[in-house]
């Protein structure tokens, strides 16, 4: 049974039919990419899957149960780090634990154990404004992880980073994903990023949005930071680019 299913999702926003019909399936532990033009409704789709917004039609299923409109079942991360400027790194990443009712001290201890995995060791007392963009995104991802839902919705998490930092984040993310085995939906504009990280990619059309292409990535995630040289890379990339450019 797939871990996450979005079935026949339709959504009109401000009088405009944004999502016409979206069908998406994500297997447990899979990394699934969502590619699509700006404004086609990718973030809207995530809001629906996260239960923050109800679709006009269609349903969201998690492990087979209909959960449409139920918030709190998936961990959500955005392009903006959304760290609170008044809290230091440790308190920021502890937020999901505190919201679940854990005492602050215990939440800090728990969060502290993961700082090194997320490259934040020694920075726990820094405020977000004192961190680099890459570190802020890693802190945001640690917060996402600590929500501990097993489903991660990552909405263009690295889009605001420079190319070099982004590349480092990819290598690091692959290692983190291997360690925690979450089920991931990953929105991106970047075809190579999608091919690098994902097992399966959905390409969405312009508004009114439908799924234009669904492709399995025919090679496994690399465990190095080198360019992928698999002969299937070029043809898959071209298929995706073709689907995106019309």
């Amino acid at each position: 049974m797939p871990k996450v299913v979005a079935e026949g999702i339709k959504k009109t926003l401000g009088g405009v039919l944004t999502l016409q019909e979206i069908n998406i399936e994500v297997e447990e532990h899979a990394i699934v990419g969502i590619l699509g033009p700006s404004g086609c409704g990718k973030s809207t789709l995530f809001n629906i899957i996260a239960g923050l917004m109800r679709p006009d039609q269609g349903n969201v299923y998690i492990e087979g149960a209909a959960v449409t409109g139920n918030a709190g079942l998936a961990s959500y991360m955005r392009q903006k780090d959304l760290l609170l400027p008044n809290l230091n790194v440790l308190d920021n990443v502890s937020i999901p634990l505190v919201l679940k009712g854990m005492p602050k001290k215990k939440a800090r201890l728990e969060a502290e154990q993961h700082l090194s995995t997320f490259g934040l060791q020694g920075f726990e007392n820094y405020y977000p404004s004192q961190l680099s963009g890459g570190m802020r995104q890693r802190a945001a991802l640690l917060r996402t992880y600590l929500y501990a839902s097993g489903i991660w919705l990552l909405d263009e998490p690295f889009a605001s980073l420079d190319a070099i930092t982004k590349r480092k984040m990819h290598t690091w993310l692959i290692q983190v994903l291997g360690q925690f085995q979450p089920t991931v939906l990953f929105i991106t504009h970047d075809v190579d990023e999608a091919l690098y990280l994902c097992d399966k990619i959905y390409v969405l059309s312009e508004c009114p949005t439908v799924v234009k292409l669904e492709v399995e990535v025919p090679f496994s995630r690399p465990h190095h930071s080198h360019t992928i040289v698999d002969p299937a890379y070029g043809p898959v990339r071209d298929t995706i680019m073709d689907a995106l450019s019309i």
Partner: protein
């Protein structure tokens, strides 16, 4: 080292200008270019201030108390109103235009009413202070709350935060810088409000001291009162600025520069 010298020099220029102005003023008065009972010189004003210091301090105490009480109550009222208006959109839509419209009523024009209703004690002054402080505080708080990025709210809702959690953990801290900018404006307004209240009739306070001096044409005392009021205003402003530094230290951190 050189930078430090430049910054001292930068401070010295306006200071030197002020000294020059005061000296010119003093000599104009000594040469009888202006009559002393119309415009006393700085030296006489300083002497009057020093001579009347115990009395002036007593009146300052009354005025300061009115300011602080009115200021504190205005903050409490602003918080209640801003919370309610922020949580209930219908109330926001109903009250916001009224709040703005209420500002077209000059406080001075309604202040005499409070004297009639509440007499010559400190109560009507506190009410005037509340009225002048309430608007900048409430508006800056409301503005700060409304300006919070929607994505923060969505993120916290996705983590099942309650509305109270969101207000406490997200909206309030993010609104604090805006709130303090309103607070700093209100700090200076509060002194003005108290003085206006006292002008209309009071048993004590700097405004009352001023009116008494004015009626007996003691211009040097009027000037001494003006000086004291200015100092009080500046002190309150500085106090709020200091509290701001303590409450939101993260606002002054040096930013990381990606390079």
């Amino acid at each position: 080292m050189r930078r430090k010298l430049t910054s001292i020099a930068n401070g010295a220029v306006p200071l030197g200008f002020v000294v020059l102005l005061l000296v010119t003023w003093e000599y104009l008065v000594r040469w009888k270019a202006v009559q002393e009972w119309i415009l006393p010189g700085p030296v006489l004003i300083a002497r009057t201030l020093a001579g009347n210091l115990p009395l002036i301090l007593k009146h300052t105490q009354t005025t300061l108390m009115e300011c602080l009480a009115g200021f504190a109550l205005a903050i409490v009222l602003s918080f209640i109103l801003a919370f309610v208006m922020d949580e209930v959109p219908l109330l926001r839509r109903a009250l916001y235009p009224l709040l703005i419209a209420s500002q077209t009523v000059p406080i001075i024009s309604v202040a005499p009413l409070f004297i009639i209703w509440f007499g010559y004690g400190i109560m009507p002054k506190i009410i005037v202070v509340i009225l002048v402080c309430f608007f900048p505080i409430a508006l800056s708080l409301l503005g700060g709350l409304a300006a919070v990025d929607r994505e923060y709210l969505e993120l916290f809702r996705s983590m099942k935060a309650t509305r109270l959690d969101i207000f406490r953990m997200v909206k309030l801290p993010l609104a604090l810088p805006s709130f303090f900018s309103g607070l700093k404006i209100a700090a200076s307004y509060s002194v003005m409000g108290a003085i206006i209240g006292e002008w209309l009739g009071a048993k004590a306070g700097l405004g009352m001291y001023m009116t008494v001096a004015q009626r007996s044409f003691q211009v040097d005392r009027v000037f001494a009162a003006i000086l004291t009021i200015t100092a009080l205003s500046a002190a309150l402003f500085a106090l709020v600025a200091l509290i701001e530094r303590l409450v939101i230290p993260w606002n002054r951190l040096t930013e990381w520069r990606d390079s």
